[in-house]
């Protein structure tokens, strides 16, 4: 079982990319679980055709407890098991604790043992801001981390921050960096900026996702491009990246200006 946490600056395209990668890996025949770690609870919408997954925190608010995985799972594309942590409304409560509560509940309900997935993807909100949001990269959860970034300054700053947190935790034998995915914004010298970051971060470039309108088109239909049309160039690109992830992140290469790796 491989457990991979996906981090990156808010709005960088983590959820879109995570669910696309989950779909890609599932379409290769693997059993996949995706866990959305975000109070917005929107991580898995593209896998479930828009059907909302009952967020764990919302379920616990209503029922006081949860005795069965069936109450909080939604089955998505290619039988991907979709969970959403959910969390408080903006301005209240503690979203980080919501993630801890969700993980503890999934442990209590023996999710890993029951579903025995090949891949688990944790789609984690924004930056690593407190203990709760770092939960996915702690012992027993994700063993690998992917950072999604663009070449924009603030995105790279956030990526660097996340890299620092992972490095701190690596000293405790927690999750290690699997690599970086460039989700292009077509800023100037984007490839050079990413190559520089990857080198400084001593990690791999897993792939480059070009801007493609089809992502938006299929997202409006609550689908990933993998499900929508696997023959699209963007779908093939994502399948390639998924292939690298499945292979353990090898042969990442570098981003080439004007070409998509």
């Amino acid at each position: 079982m491989r457990k991979i946490a996906v981090y990156g600056k808010g709005g960088i395209g983590k959820s879109t990319l995570t669910s696309s990668l989950a779909a890609a890996v599932a379409s290769m025949g693997y059993k996949v679980v995706q866990i959305g770690c975000d109070p917005k609870a929107d991580s898995t919408l593209n896998l479930t055709g828009g059907k909302e997954t009952v967020p764990v925190i919302e379920y616990l608010r209503q029922h006081g407890g949860c005795d069965s995985l069936d109450e909080i799972v939604t089955w998505g594309y290619k039988n991907i098991a979709c969970f959403e942590a959910g969390g408080p409304t903006p301005g209240t409560g503690c979203a980080g604790r919501g993630i801890v509560t969700t993980f503890e509940l999934l442990d209590d309900l023996e999710m890993f043992e029951t579903y025995d997935p090949d891949f688990v993807f944790y789609d984690v909100l924004g930056d690593v801001v407190c203990g709760g949001f770092a939960m996915p990269i702690r012992k027993g959860y994700a063993e690998e981390v992917i950072i999604v970034t663009s070449g924009e300054k603030m995105a790279l700053f956030a990526a660097s921050n996340i890299r620092m947190a992972v490095e701190n935790y690596q000293q405790r034998n927690y999750a290690k960096m699997l690599g970086v995915i460039l989700n292009k914004r077509n800023v100037e010298n984007e490839e050079e900026l990413i190559n520089d970051f990857v080198q400084r971060a001593d990690t791999e470039l897993l792939g480059v996702v070009p801007r493609d309108k089809n992502i938006q088109i299929y997202e409006d239909r609550c689908q990933t491009v993998i499900e929508g049309d696997p023959d699209l160039e963007i779908s093939k690109k994502i399948m390639e990246i998924a292939g690298r992830i499945v292979a353990g992140g090898k042969a990442g290469g570098t981003a080439v200006p004007g070409e998509d790796t």
């Binding site: 029922h63 407890g65 407190c130 709760g132 702690r138 405790r172």
Partner: protein, 429 residues
Amino acid sequence: MQVLLENLPQYLKENKKRLNSKDALHYCPPCGGGWGVVKTAVQVPEVQVLFVIPIGCGRHGAIAAMKDGTDSRIHYLLMEEVDLVSGDHLEKTEAAVRELVEETEAKGLILFTTCIDDLLGSDFEGLIEKMEEELQIPISRGKMNPILSETPRAPDIMVHNTAYNFLRERGQEESAVNLVGCLSPVTSDSELFDFLESGGIREVRHMGNCSNFDEFLSMADSRVNLLIRAPGKRACRDMERAIGLPWIDLPASFLPEKIDEGYKNLSLLGDFSYDTGALKREAEEAIREIRPLTAGRTAVLGKTVNADSFDLALFLHRLGFQLKYVLAAAVKDHEQEAMEILRTKRPDLPVIPHLDPALALRQENSEEVDFGFGLDTAVYFRPRKLVLLPFETSLFGYRGILALLESIRSAEPFSGSVKDLVYNANLVI
């Protein structure tokens, strides 16, 4: 609010398994203390305990420890706001652990954190791993986090995990078993020991009876864990996963058919020559003999009694008591059957959640009853006779029934200060 037994399942459905509604006001009972996480944790011999806490949380446990005489093993690292917000308290904890281990030469350490670190998601697991490697002593995390009281990870459940987390390497001692889940050891005159001995079990271990840390660690070598009370179940499951130590459910009960069932389950372990039949007949005879004393007498069953509420309630009903109220916290899984039987016989029986704010309105000189079972009944009612089950030991089996019946028979008319009684029993905190 009190709930009639006939409506209890619906009430529980709305509130999960705990009787006190999460959406209502709660009451802090004057005898809500006793076996807290502190008292339980220090049962592990020769370990030191470090609390990483804000000062308010620490005071409560400190007073309890002073009253129990265990305060010399309990230490505090007090945190302030900036420590928590910055995460500096983790580094300070490392320094405190080093200092404590060096000064006390501790064999083991229990590191307690509070609701605050639950909310922060602080990585104490990583800290503990690092300190264990550095200091070469086992460290177990404890949580004093009543914020999770209504969940499967309630502190009274997880404290068993905290204690048994020290058992990490398994040996093989076929002639030893452990008693788990009961905070106080089973009374030494219980036939359970005779029964086990008849099958070659020469040693019955309970953490409260271990005189030193090594003896406690030897519990990992035992053949099987016998789960006497439900709060230990999670720890049993985790020990089975972690070190392959199997467990058998052997709930303490006052119902002869449940006791029978327990010994039958135990017989799966091997050949036991002890015949419980004679003792069972003795208990049944004693039940018949006490009826003139109990039949038609009014009684209230309190929450503080050292027994499972609905199991004991059914037993008291069978003795002929006219139960007026049952104060309880939850309906445990293995009590469901007893509760259902009682429900068919006494659908009108009021069950009061022990944190119900209505209890605050009951004064000492309120409703009179013939018998009160448990110290809290003297707080809320006026029992003519008060029956107290032992607190520092646990009744088990047919001799448990006989001991209970003797307590009923010998109960004296109750007079004196309820407040003194509660304080002297160390039940306030």
